[in-house]
Symmetry: C2
Subunit: 885 residues, 2 copies
């Protein structure tokens, strides 16, 4: 019989931490904590396989599930000495989701389950706190009504608002028992009006809760979150049913969320927040501003709220020991939830904490220093995509800044943008290319897509563990939360800080590392690559096998690349060099030439520019290889397509506008991606290839004469056969020999080719015989292998990803199944005929960690944009570590 249910609690557990795929992260860790003696309220986990079963079987459960759940409930009853549904001594439970990876706030939860008109009285008697009991029942109905019965929570909130208003209360906890009972009656009426009465049977409540959690796996915000975080839908979620413990049962109770180190900076101190007499949801939701954990934090933040270290010194000590125990056990920074019920500490959850790139790096480096982990483990601890954050601009320290408010440094980084006040606006403005900062009173899971679209998030309410803070850190977006002086008017679309009014569209700057909010757009600068980062990248370079180069044409890009550790230029797209205003007319002259002679004249004018381009690149890249791709795009890209542009060019060039228009029309192609471009240009117009080769070789000789080492690599694009490369290589070699003869000097150079057409990949063995290197142009190779134009895929690719035809956008992350297979074949075939062949890729995928992980097994190197060089270096090291395992 399949085991669908795993119990835990009281120092025992059926599950373990390594059963995360089956039990979800939360369930696996509850089991693990229980096993190692951490106090955990007893409960059980329904496995993720039940979720899969549920979706594959038309929302039904396996036959044996009910029986296994009942047995597990019985165990809980025994451990807690209470009975589920008992009118005297009722056991109450929580029902929570728990996927393999945390999806904070994405899925549904029901608390206080087991309460009904009878058990609430038992709870009141047992706790001797009727107000707590009825408040719990009120909360239960509100949550169950919303989550399970689909009653909009506003309906309940209106009632609470009214009662507060009528009585002049500021908070719900000011209500009397009688008022609570009236509220409960009204709540039950609301449920009934919405369709059916609130179930009184705890068993029915339980299965309603379980169904709601499984159901929430597929709600829109969860689906969006998974898409943004590349989490496959078929993983499913587990459901955790656990004995309730109450942080809100009185002033000797409390609830909190804490991290074993600072998730924003990585600093090693006890980080967290708690609220007295509250349920956990109150902390996360950001409605009340919570208290700090430690005296240290209290001092730093300058708050006068008491901290846990002061209020509950004993329990703080116990919790602090648990912090140390869990971190030592898991060897990673922990994100924990706890509840104090009537003076007893319970751990509700522990998991590896989400962290910013900065924090991930610091924690990894410090844990190596502490001897907790080794370097190879440390390398896996930093998400390569997060490294992006460390490289992205910060505010210029010397810039004059007008700080208008201060909040919590909830997610580090600098963000500058126009103010918008809703997630929908953030998406809409961003889609028009505008940079926006999303300003909200607080955020909720519905705001995810808007947060993703924004440069940064600013919220008036909420702590360091509020929804805005947690999600922003996960996304690597700067966030400042909990700015008390901030007043936001949604309908009026403006914010106020004191007398200052800022409207929608006004520029604002936020610093998520300091919590500062500034008026206007502050200037940004590049970060330094030293300290922890430098040390960490040193380990990365020790471990990785793949070489990492950069795609660069300009001296600026080449310098950035070198600074970021590029081992050469892997792709210099010469066509980018021809768009400069000083050259575009010579280029157009070349294209418009009526015969070879005129074409050669125009090329002769371009030659000095090209040579100078290469001289600069060779100097910057001294000692490192520079791969220069010959002219690649369709020629008509260079021509003016608008009438007024054509008139201008015609005048400048002394030809008629009709000539310009005619030649432009003649060069028009139905499918330019598959037209006269790449090496086809060299085959049809060999003189273009000659000019470029001459420029490269002359530049190499010039720089070489300055005593610098130059390693030029000439790359022929869009090859589809060996013969084609043979023809191009002949032009290159003959031109080089000619230049050598003219100058009386030589320099070593290499000739290779892009493999970017399926035919080239299929015939890689032949082609390799006459190539010094292969560079897979995976952008074009993806376009041709999938028959999908990157420029046109927008009309169907979103459907394709959402329907699971492609797991991800194949232009962002390599289609390993199809294109990857072709690359693997080509690598094997190429190496068979040419042992010395250097194999690499360039293009988007060269900087994508998932692609690098796949390609590590086949290639010698990758090339990517300068800013992604450190990411690629790390991803290559991670791939090496994983492959070695």
């Amino acid at each position: 019989m399949t085991k669908w249910v795993y119990t835990f609690g009281d120092g025992q557990a059926e599950g373990r931490a390594d059963m995360r795929n089956l039990l979800g992260g939360k369930g696996a860790n509850l089991a693990e904590m229980s096993s190692i003696g951490v106090p955990v309220p007893p409960g059980f986990t329904i496995t993720t396989e039940v979720c899969t079963y549920y979706y594959e079987n038309n929302h039904t459960y396996p036959a044996e599930l009910k029986e296994q759940v009942n047995a597990a409930i019985k165990q809980m009853e025994d451990k807690m000495g209470m009975k589920f549904g008992d009118e005297e001594n009722p056991l109450l439970v929580s029902v929570r989701s728990g996927a393999r990876v945390s999806m904070p706030g994405m899925m549904d939860t029901v608390l206080n389950l087991g309460l009904n008109d009878k058990t609430v009285e038992g709870l009141a008697k047992r706790s001797n706190n009727p107000k707590f009991a009825y408040d719990s029942y009120r909360r239960f109905i509100q949550m169950y009504g919303d989550v399970v019965m689909g009653v909009h929570s506003e309906n309940f909130e209106h009632v609470l608002d009214r009662v507060r208003d009528e009585n002049g209360y500021k908070f719900d906890n000011q209500m009397t028992v009688e008022q609570l009972k009236d509220v409960i009656t009204e709540f039950k009426k609301i449920c009934e009006d919405a369709g059916r009465p609130l179930p009184q049977d705890p068993q029915e409540q339980l299965w309603g809760g379980i169904g709601a959690v499984f159901g929430s796996w597929m709600i829109e915000r969860a689906v969006i979150y998974r898409k943004l975080n590349n989490i496959p839908s078929n993983w499913g979620t587990a459901v955790n049913v656990q004995s309730m413990v109450f942080g809100n049962s009185g002033d000797n109770s409390a609830t909190g969320v804490c991290f074993s180190r600072d998730p924003a900076t990585g600093e090693n101190y006890f980080y967290g927040e708690y609220l007295k007499n509250a349920q956990g949801e109150d902390v996360v939701a950001g409605i009340r501003t919570p208290q700090p954990m430690t005296k240290l934090v209290k001092e730093r933040s300058g708050t006068d709220m008491p901290c846990m270290e002061e209020e509950f010194p004993e329990l703080y000590k116990q919790l602090s020991d648990i912090r140390a125990k869990l971190e030592a056990h898991y060897k990673d920074m922990q994100d924990m939830e706890f509840t104090i019920q009537d003076g007893k500490l319970w751990m509700l959850q522990t998991r590896n904490g989400k962290r910013t790139g900065t924090a991930a790096l610091r924690i990894a480096v410090e844990m190596v220093r502490e001897g907790l982990i080794d370097k190879r483990t440390a390398i896996l601890r930093v998400d390569a995509n997060q490294v992006d954050q460390l490289l992205h601009p910060m505010f210029d320290k010397n810039a004059k800044k007008e700080v208008i408010a201060r909040g919590l440094p909830a997610s580090p980084g600098a963000a500058v943008g126009q103010i918008v006040f809703s997630a929908a606006d953030a998406e809409a403005w961003a889609s028009q290319g505008k940079k926006v900062v999303l300003v909200r009173i607080e955020t909720s899971p519905e705001d995810i897509a808007g947060m993703h679209a924004a440069q940064g998030i600013l919220t008036a309410r909420g702590g360091m563990t509020s929804h805005a803070a947690v999600v922003a850190r996960g996304m690597g977006k700067p966030c400042v939360s909990g700015v008390p002086e901030l007043r936001i008017d949604y309908p009026g679309k403006f914010l106020k800080v004191g007398d200052l009014v800022m409207k929608e569209g006004d520029m604002i700057s936020i610093d998520g590392s300091t919590g500062e909010v500034m008026k206007g757009a502050l200037p940004l600068v590049l970060p330094e690559m030293a300290g922890n980062f430098g040390e960490f990248m040193g380990w990365v370079d020790e471990i990785r096998n793949l070489k990492v180069r950069a795609n660069a044409e300009t001296p600026k890009d080449a310098e950035t690349a070198r600074k970021f550790g590029a081992q050469g230029i892997g792709l210099c797209r010469t066509e980018h060099m021809f768009f400069d205003p000083s050259r575009i007319n010579h280029m157009r002259e070349m294209i418009l030439a009526k015969n070879e002679e005129d074409r050669r004249k125009a090329l002769a004018k371009l030659l000095p520019y090209q040579r100078q381009d290469f001289v600069e690149l060779f100097k910057i890249m001294e000692g490192l290889p520079v791969t220069i791709r010959l002219l690649d795009p369709p020629l008509h890209e260079f021509l003016p397509h608008k009438r007024e542009e054509q008139v201008e060019i015609a005048q400048e060039m002394g030809v008629t506008v009709e000539e310009i228009a005619a030649r432009t029309a003649q060069l028009h192609e139905a499918n330019p991606m598959l037209g006269l471009r790449g090496c086809r240009l060299a085959v049809v117009f060999p003189e273009i290839c000659e000019m470029q080769t001459r420029a490269i070789i002359e530049a190499a000789l010039e720089v070489s004469a300055m005593g610098m080492k130059v390693i030029p690599e000439i790359e022929v694009p869009l090859i589809s056969s060996k013969k084609e490369l043979e023809i191009c290589r002949k032009i290159i070699d003959e031109t080089a020999e000619k230049v050598f003869a003219e100058k009386g000097k030589k320099v070593e150079y290499f000739v290779g080719t892009m493999i970017e057409l399926p035919r080239a990949a299929l015939l890689a063995d032949e082609i390799a015989e006459i190539a010094d290197f292969f560079e897979f142009g995976t952008n074009d190779l993806t376009q041709t292998t999938l028959g999908m134009s990157r420029d046109d895929a927008g009309s169907f690719l979103p459907s394709y990803v959402s329907k699971g035809i492609y797991e991800r956008d194949p232009f962002q992350s390599l289609d390993t199944t199809g294109v990857g297979k072709l690359i693997a074949m080509a690598c094997e075939a190429g190496r068979k005929t040419n042992k010395e062949l250097y194999l690499s890729i360039c293009g988007e995928h060269g900087g994508d960690p998932a692609s690098i992980e796949y390609l590590n097994a086949y290639l010698d190197g990758v090339s990517c944009s300068p800013y992604r060089v450190p990411i690629a270096r790390l991803a290559a090291a991670q791939a090496a570590v994983k492959q070695a395992k």
Copy 2:
């Protein structure tokens, strides 16, 4: 030591017929003839390997060649009892080319080599015919000057013209010995003026001649001919050096060209022409109209010229026996050249004769009946591409025709077109899409490309074996030659027949089967498929393994296909059905729909049309499968792009023109070939797929209810992954089930997919799991595998073919190396997971014999245009025969 030279003659030979690759066709057959006792002037063959050596070694020869040639000359001298260069009894030789396959008139020849100022006197004495001797010397200088020394032949012709004019001669042979001597003096002066004197040393003459023949392998007309006939350049030519025998040494001499059967019709009689007192070149060049061979032909043609059977009865009998001997020996129709010198018959050449498609078929069928060859051999005897000729239209026998002249039926078939008077014009007009008939006084090898571009060729001069006739038959072009009443004015660009004047651009019709020339454009009709053709195709169908279906959408095409033996419809492109004026507006409505509801409304209007289309096809194809491809092209192809069209549509549809323009612009794609098309339409707009499936299934049920067997196959285009096909198949199956439920009836149907993207080919194993059939769409597969747009390749593909990057246009003949490899991989992978998978291709390559030969090893069937069905059937049978070998 490599043997570079092979001797023959006097009943002996070092070579054999099967050494064609080494000795060329001519050399191999001279050797073979000599071996079997046919009288052949002795000589030797320099192998094709010398030609290869010559081009690989900077136009030099192997070291041993000279010695081997000298030894072979010695043998010739011994056999003929003469000496090369001897002043008394000089041996004269011819130097001719001879490639593996005949290239008539393409390469250079030098005759009478060995003559100089001294030997000509010896020849005069020996022959006792000084006029013959000096005429031979005159011819030699003219030919050697032109071919070896590069003196333009016009220079010589001017001298001859002048001498004729001065003396009132009509023919050169009216010249006296003294006049010939003067001419010779002038000729030598011409050579000297052009750069250097005519070599007097026979050895120098010989090597000059050999060099000229090897050199002529690469002259332009030879290169073009090879390209048109798919002959690889690296085959090279052999050189045949042979003792001269003279058909022009007096009235007891003659020379002729004959075929063992009629190369135009295939009829089994002795076909040929000869000229008394002439050299062979005179017959082929078409300058004099030659005499018939037999009484039969004389009677048929109604000429009053004497025939060989009358003039040389003994020699005719000898020749007739040789004809029988050679045909029995080679088991194929022979093309022979002979010379009678002073009453002795010499065979100069035999080779398998070129023939028209009609002749090939008749000869093959009759040779099987005669027991000369078996059916499998017969099948290989008919060039599949030539079958085209048998299927192409003939003149409607009932049409009124105005015959303006009659000539020789030089190459059968009907041609209609506008008159042009030069090969260059023929090419230029044809490239603008015009159909032209090339009208020339006579044609020469320079005219090849123009002949290829024309519908047919009409010449005023020349016999059945003239250049025009031979080349036209080779190309399968209709040709009427030798029309005596035709006067052509090149500068004036008109022709005259009696008083009738026709100008360039006027329509003319020629019947190459009857020799008739008609004014205007005669109507054309389809040929009948019976008689020899029917019998032959019966053998073809017995032997072939591949099924042959047709690509057809219209009832007319479907009927044609069935008549031509198609075994079903392999590709019905549904989009072609939407361009009909009655539907295009509904189609546009569908595309312009703002939402699914509106789209469904428009689709509902298209449904009855689609259903009716399929009803008709199913009825015509009763009992045979019909593969229907779902909508494939980018939607914007259906939209009006011109402003005035948009205005019209907007009015008709009751929307604003701006809406039409906006939606059209929105649907514009950078690379439509790689955009929203194929199954992507079905994924994004499932309702389109639903409508088409419904139309197919409803039509199938309707026709099935009439008692006819219907086999519908639904084909999903542009698949790139299994999941995609899964989604489409689900829509199809669910729709079919719905229709079955509505109608209470069922019909069996199949669902398969096009494999036209490299990714689909790479993942064929997965995809095959849920496909009933694969159809390789080799047009798109070629475009994506080669990264080459068919619409845009015109700007570079000609360069690519001429530079040998692709051997042939990969859109006409499958790129077996690249695309073919992918297909082979996909077939193997597909069959691995689905044993029942039906594998086929559609598109251009499905009707191309070379492609079929390659694909025969992998596929179950092909589909091609209706007119190519018989070609595909034959090609499939030939592939089966070859593969069995």
